[in-house]
């Protein structure tokens, strides 16, 4: 499964909404329930799903879902070269 599809599933689980379709330009402003609590849940769920740990710097630098996709890809490559 593509990373973007896997990520989309995580989004759908965390926000409990199967209609969510993520895109690279998507930000928190685009999803109604994406508040700070759900943001933390989202990051935690992504870490669990991909078996990764984001550093504090990596999390603060995320500006949109595109950054998130790139970050996950990059870290996955590092974990499994």
């Amino acid at each position: 499964m593509e990373i973007i599809d896997q990520l989309q599933n995580v989004f759908r689980r965390v926000f409990d909404d199967d209609r969510i379709n993520i895109s690279r330009t998507m930000t928190a402003a685009d999803v109604e329930d994406w508040d700070s609590l759900n943001h933390v849940l989202l990051v935690t769920a992504i870490e669990r799903e991909f078996k990764l740990r984001f550093t504090i710097g990596e999390v603060t630098r995320l500006k949109n879902v595109g950054d998130l996709i790139d970050l996950v890809e990059q870290k996955k490559d590092q974990a499994n070269p």
Binding site: D16, F54, V59
Partner: protein
């Protein structure tokens, strides 16, 4: 202690909510759930929340709870609300703005003041509130002064909050030591000073403040996993999301008792709960309660823990499937028993179902069903109580008795908001004043319960590999035993060889919880035109589940195949087998009083007869899986 008179109607549980709650309170907590799963549960409940409130408005206790934290509290609030509903509380939660407690309480017109809460939860954190510590090599006086300054701050804070009941967290000792191994070796180290402060807080606790030992929770959870530095820096989150369920569960148990819904009574099983083994079958010498035996030691430790609960005011009740005198004999005779009969406020030992018995215990003690906690090693008993006593907290007892204390301790069943000297006298007043009420009609839908167990049996002639277990069962059964004739393996083998005149039947049982193996043994002797039940034993653990009926049906089948007219049962009374004295009548046999009718000689027995011709198979809820 006020007791509600039992008679409050069973609370209606609207579809959905009780399933959501049952995991929180009864079966297993949600410790293995991910934070996402937990919050998704909360979302599910929130969709039904307003209907739930309307349906249950008479039974929910209202509680206005204000939460302040020097760290983020918002993620605690949602889950806490859900857990409080599960405890029968309708919370209205006021969430203080992060780190705003001082301004909110000092400002007379503030929203907090207008809210007028019943409870105020204050969550303190070392990283925010204790920024300066005594210097290295500080003197004892300087350390004391440091402690006192902070103590004064807290007392002023609590006074400022006003009359509400306060829950104040104690400080979590950090998971780092700048002095390394020496952190615990000098009085001025940061961690020792924090410990000192926690102790000083405890020593000078005002009446309206209850502490929540967050350091204890962090230790229980595992401090390494508890801490989440990344999310502390990102969101001022005080601890890892993984620890959230533990914290919220503990807070909710404390709130429950502060709001007047404490659990008051622990109902205990006896066999394999207070001692290893079954007293009716194993006898005083056979049960495991010897301090020199590891298993016995585990049960003794559990009894000591339970006794300590009684000593601080928890009522103990016994609910056991046993002959009452046999059950009490352990208390009278066994030298290693820690619990004594005087410790038990209500002792119920009979062969009725435990749900009905618990209702009776509630009536006798004059307490509500919702103040009872049930501890029983047998999952089938736990199931019947869960199904029929919805308000009772049923502890999910682990298989291993060495883990009993942890299971009871971690359930937080008896978290009380206060402790008084009167609590220690509670049991004595009940023991002196117990009224035995007549047992009323069972309230349990027993057929539904039996169907839900998924019972299956295999009944047939025994084969070689069953001989040992078959012989063992015959020799150790005392209670469900009609004639108490003992045989050795050689006897059994000889009878097996005589197939024309003897049938040796085994019965194996399993249900959705467990495979019980061989639980009943029958020896049938064929005579000229009748069949004699030479031996019929059964494990008492599976009484009243329908096995008696299934076995009876099989015995009649065999008599039919042999072309016999009658099936005879002889009951020879002993001190231990009163249990089965009238059972044949319940199974469709008739009593024979005229001994001259009996085709065999009998001196001390009671006789029961079943004609084969018009026998209709007895109905039960067991699937026969080997026909």
């Amino acid at each position: 202690m006020s007791g509600d008179v039992f008679g409050v109607a069973q609370r209606p549980q609207p579809f959905g909510a009780s399933e959501l709650f049952s995991d929180v309170l009864s079966k297993s907590r949600l410790l293995d759930s991910s934070p996402t799963e937990l919050f998704s549960l909360v979302k599910k409940f929130n969709k039904k929340k307003s209907n739930y409130i309307i349906d249950n408005s008479k039974n929910l206790i209202e509680c206005k709870l204000a939460i302040f934290g020097s760290t983020t509290t918002s993620f605690i609030t949602d889950l806490l609300e859900f857990y409080l509903f599960a405890h029968g509380i309708k919370p209205t939660i006021f969430e203080g703005v992060y780190n705003s407690v001082i301004s909110e309480i000092t400002n007379v017109g503030s929203d907090f003041r207008k809210f007028r809460p019943n409870l105020v939860l204050l969550m303190s954190d070392v990283r925010q509130e204790l920024q300066h510590f005594p210097k290295i090599f500080a003197t004892q006086d300087e350390i004391d002064q440091w402690v006192n300054e902070r103590l004064i701050f807290f007392h002023q804070l609590w006074k400022g909050v006003g009359d509400s009941q306060i829950i104040q967290t104690l400080f979590v000792i950090p998971d780092e030591r700048t002095l390394g191994a020496f952190e615990c070796n000098v009085p001025f180290s940061k961690n020792v000073c924090i410990q000192r402060l926690n102790l000083a807080l405890i020593e000078h606790r005002p009446a309206n403040v209850v502490f929540l030992d967050l350091d204890f929770l962090a230790a229980r959870f595992g401090k390494r996993r508890w801490g989440d530095p990344k999310n502390y820096f990102l969101n001022k989150q005080p601890f890892s999301f993984d620890a959230l369920e533990l914290v919220v569960f503990h807070v909710s148990c404390l709130v429950r008792s502060l709001m007047g819904r404490p659990k008051k009574c622990l109902v205990l099983d006896l066999d394999n709960t207070l001692w290893g083994g079954i007293i009716g079958d194993d006898g005083i010498a056979g049960i495991k309660l010897d301090p020199n035996d590891p298993e016995g030691e585990a049960f003794i430790a559990f009894q000591k823990y339970v006794k300590a609960l009684k000593e601080r005011g928890v009522l103990l009740a016994v609910c056991s499937k046993n002959d009452e005198n046999i059950a009490k004999s352990v208390f009278f005779q066994h030298p290693a028993m820690v619990l004594q009969l005087d410790d038990i406020a209500c002792f119920v030992a009979n062969w009725r179902d435990k749900a009905t018995n618990i209702h009776q215990i509630a009536r006798i003690l004059n307490i509500g069903m919702d103040s009872i906690v049930f501890f029983d090693d047998n999952p089938v008993e736990r199931e019947i109580v869960r199904q029929n006593c919805q308000d009772v907290q049923v502890i999910e007892v682990p298989d291993d008795p060495s883990l009993y204390i942890a299971a009871l301790d971690e359930a937080c069943a008896f978290d009380w908001g206060q402790l008084s000297h009167e609590d220690t006298l509670r049991t004595a007043s009940y023991v002196n004043d117990v009224r035995r009420k007549e047992l009323e009609v069972s309230c349990v839908n027993y057929d539904d319960f039996l169907s839900s167990l998924g019972l299956e049996v295999q009944i047939g002639r025994i084969t070689d590999h069953q001989i040992t277990r078959f012989t063992q069962l015959i020799n150790k059964s005392n209670q469900f035993n009609f004639r108490t004739i003992r045989y050795c393996e050689a006897d059994i083998i000889m009878m097996m060889g005589d197939r024309d005149n003897h049938v040796l039947l085994y019965c194996d049982l399993n249900d959705k919880f467990s495979n019980y193996g061989l639980i009943s043994a029958v020896i049938l002797k064929r005579e000229s035109n009748y069949v004699f039940v030479d031996t019929w034993v059964m494990s008492c653990r599976v009484l009243n589940r329908g096995v008696e009926k299934a076995v009876t049906n099989s015995m009649v089948e065999i008599a039919k195949k042999w072309g016999c007219d009658n099936l005879w049962v002889e009951y020879i009374p002993t001190k231990k087998n009163n249990l089965v004295s009238n059972l044949p009548v319940e199974l469709g046999f008739r009593t024979v009083t005229d001994a001259s009718v009996c085709p065999f000689s009998t001196t001390s027995g009671l006789l029961y007869l079943r004609e084969i011709k018009e026998f209709r198979p007895l109905i039960h809820h067991i699937k026969i899986t080997n026909q």
